[in-house]
């Protein structure tokens, strides 16, 4: 399949209200050409509304939306030339697989021979070569998903939208499809906007993630930055596990209780701050271990064996609970009631905005 030229997407001031509720609140977002961008957020955050605005099914109250140079905010869906994959696949049950995949070509008046060639190419691409004559109800969930995908890319749109396309699949298949979708994106190069509420999926697939909450974008960043430098408590809590410790400003730096924190990256400007601690970044060390790390004395409260790791619940001196994830090698696992020291390297010592 030919590699179509991708288009950048420019979103400005897009607002959608339902009664008094802001589904989208003055959203600005630049999506780069050929980028795989994920809209990540809990249900009701506005991520699907934003995708529907891109597709043209939801008409915002106001705003500007450009595909490349073209203003498209008032363009009806069928003139946007955008491929779309829905959560429930929405395959047409009255057509066979080839009929489904060929549907956009039929609408565009593509000659029969060429259409057949392109249908087969699209099916090959999603590893369903030779399935053209199958009935839709003879396919498994994963195969339906692939047909929906083939149908959305067969007409070589320059933008591909996906609305939680993997949520109906079981875990194993979902993880395989994540890799496959990403590979397909790299091969076709179209600008892809992907909606999900699954943070792991977002981290696995995306070039960048826009974390959405309350109709606005909380943070727009690469998966790594989103995980390691969340903009605020909401993002930190939504993505990955974390514990939060109250910190106070101390001159140019911060301190937790009496302990002055050693921090690698400067924290953002905000009214209130928190120390975010990822459980797997904490290490159990000897109390007198030398080095630059920040040390927190604690008492082990609970130890849970989880196979690939051990989750230790510990209580700090001021009574705050904190989770530590450690390797299940016997000598490193503490016992309940033991006094331990938790170490956190300056690079992992991330002070974030409270809100």
């Amino acid at each position: 399949m030919a590699r179509g030229a991708a288009l950048p997407i420019t979103i400005r001031q897009v607002t959608k209200t339902y009664g008094r509720i802001h589904a989208l609140d003055h959203v600005d977002l630049d999506i780069q050409s050929g980028e795989f961008l994920t809209l990540l957020g809990p249900s009701g955050s506005g991520k699907t509304t934003l995708l529907m605005v891109l597709a043209g099914f939801t008409r915002p109250d106001h705003g500007s939306l450009r595909f490349g140079e073209d203003e498209v905010i008032r363009r009806p869906p069928h003139k946007r030339d955008v491929g779309m994959v829905f959560q429930n696949y929405a395959l047409f049950p009255h057509m066979d697989v080839a009929g489904n995949v060929g549907f956009p070509l039929r609408l565009r008046g593509v000659p029969r021979a060429e259409a057949e060639r392109r249908i087969e190419a699209a099916l090959d691409l999603v590893q369903l070569g030779g399935y053209g004559g199958r009935r839709v109800d003879q396919l498994s969930g994963g195969q339906r998903q692939r047909v929906a995908l083939a149908r959305a890319i067969v007409f070589e749109p320059r933008i591909l939208l996906m609305d939680e396309p993997l949520s109906a699949l079981d875990k194993q298949l979902r993880e395989r499809m994540q890799i496959e979708l990403r590979r397909l994106h790299d091969r076709l190069g179209m600008t892809t906007v992907y909606v999900t509420h699954d943070q792991r999926e977002a981290l696995t697939m995306s070039d960048r993630i826009a974390v959405i909450q309350g109709g606005g974008i909380m943070q727009l960043d690469t998966p790594r930055r989103i995980y390691e430098q969340p903009a605020n408590r909401f993002v930190a809590e939504f993505i990955g596990e974390s514990s939060f410790l109250p910190v106070e400003r101390d001159g140019a730096g911060f301190r937790y209780g009496a302990h002055i924190l050693r921090i690698a990256a400067p924290p953002p400007e905000a009214d209130g701050h928190l120390l975010m601690v990822r459980p797997e970044r904490l290490r159990l060390v000897a109390a007198d271990e030398p080095g630059e790390d920040n040390h927190f004395p604690a008492t082990v409260e609970d130890v849970v064996y989880q196979g690939d790791s051990v989750l230790v619940q510990a209580v700090l001196a001021d009574g705050i609970r904190i989770a530590v994830r450690t390797a299940p090698t016997a000598d490193a696992v503490p016992v309940e009631g033991a006094a331990v020291t938790l170490a956190l390297s300056p690079a992992d010592t991330v002070v974030i905005a409270d809100r």
Binding site: R12, Q13, R59, P60, D61, H62, G63, I73, R74
Partner: protein
């Protein structure tokens, strides 16, 4: 760039789309307006016009004063009430048995229940006329079996009217009752049985109350539809059962008395709407309303 780009254009698009979708309903709306709302509105107007062409309540006053009108209303309510009562007595047990059958067999039986729906009202009325007449099949068999000796007068009177109307209205009762019974959670009955309720107690204390909304809705619909009956009393009543609709037709056909007929029609419509409004507060009407009468 402005603070609210494209706001006016988007608002116009939304309005246009809504208008266009709405416009799809307008031909049907126009048809109903022209062929029903207007004519019936006209009748409404006529009912308030006196013989001299000025506004007057004389048609309504006459309705209250003349005993023949009172008899017509009494007959209408009597027939409607009896039909509804018989429908409940016959329909409830059938729905009860159907609701306990396996779904496949019940669906098959429902075809039988619905058969009357797709056979012409006139055909069914004719069938009863044939069956119930003096030399009809029912009298023939009744005498052969020794149930009665002289041919009974089963048609051209109240009996015939009731039999015909019950036959037509039964499906309207059975459908909602059956639906509400199917929806009853079997666990309630099991729980009642576990708590020591015998079959009779479990029925009266648990099943019947749970099926009441369907029964009540179905009965109301039957009653309302009965009020407007015309064909069955006209044919099977043989001129002896005069319901409001028959009276209206006579007023027009024989006496050309549009004012009186219209006033009767307005009262009939008001009664229907009043009862329907009551019914709509209890059951979902779109489930129970089917073919006309």
């Amino acid at each position: 760039m402005s603070e609210r780009p494209n706001e006016a254009g988007l608002r116009r698009d939304a309005l246009l789309e809504r208008l266009a979708l709405f416009g799809l309903g307008s031909p049907a709306l126009l048809l109903v307006l022209v062929a029903m709302v207007l004519p019936v509105g006209w009748l409404f107007w006529l009912s308030f016009l006196g013989d001299d062409g000025t506004f007057s309540l004389e048609h309504y006053q006459r309705m209250l004063a003349e005993p023949s009108y009172r008899r017509t209303f009494a007959t209408t309510f009597q027939v409607s009430f009896l039909t509804t009562a018989i429908c409940i007595l016959l329909g409830y047990p059938l729905a009860y048995v159907l609701a306990q059958l396996p779904q496949r067999i019940a669906n098959l039986c429902m075809i039988g229940v619905l058969l009357p729906f797709w056979t012409s009202l006139l055909v069914r009325t004719y069938a009863w006329l044939v069956l119930l007449q003096r030399q009809g099949l029912i009298n023939q068999w009744g005498i052969e079996l020794g149930l009665w000796s002289e041919p009974l007068t089963l048609v051209h009177n109240l009996n015939g009217t009731l039999i015909g109307m019950v036959h037509i209205m039964l499906p309207f009762l059975i459908l909602p009752v059956y639906a509400s019974m199917r929806a009853i959670d079997r666990d309630f009955i099991k729980a009642a049985a576990n708590l020591g309720a015998g079959p009779v107690a479990a029925f009266w204390k648990v099943f019947l109350p749970l099926s009441l909304p369907g029964l009540f809705g179905g009965a109301l619909i039957v009653f309302i539809l009965c009020l407007g009956f015309y064909v069955t009393p006209a044919v099977l009543g043989g001129g002896r059962v005069i319901m409001v609709s028959n009276r209206i037709a006579t007023d027009i056909e024989l006496f050309f008395n549009w004012g009186a007929a219209s006033a009767l029609g307005v009262v009939l419509l008001a009664l229907t709407l009043l009862l329907l409004w009551g019914a709509s507060r209890i059951v979902r009407l779109d489930r129970v309303l089917g073919a006309g009468h």
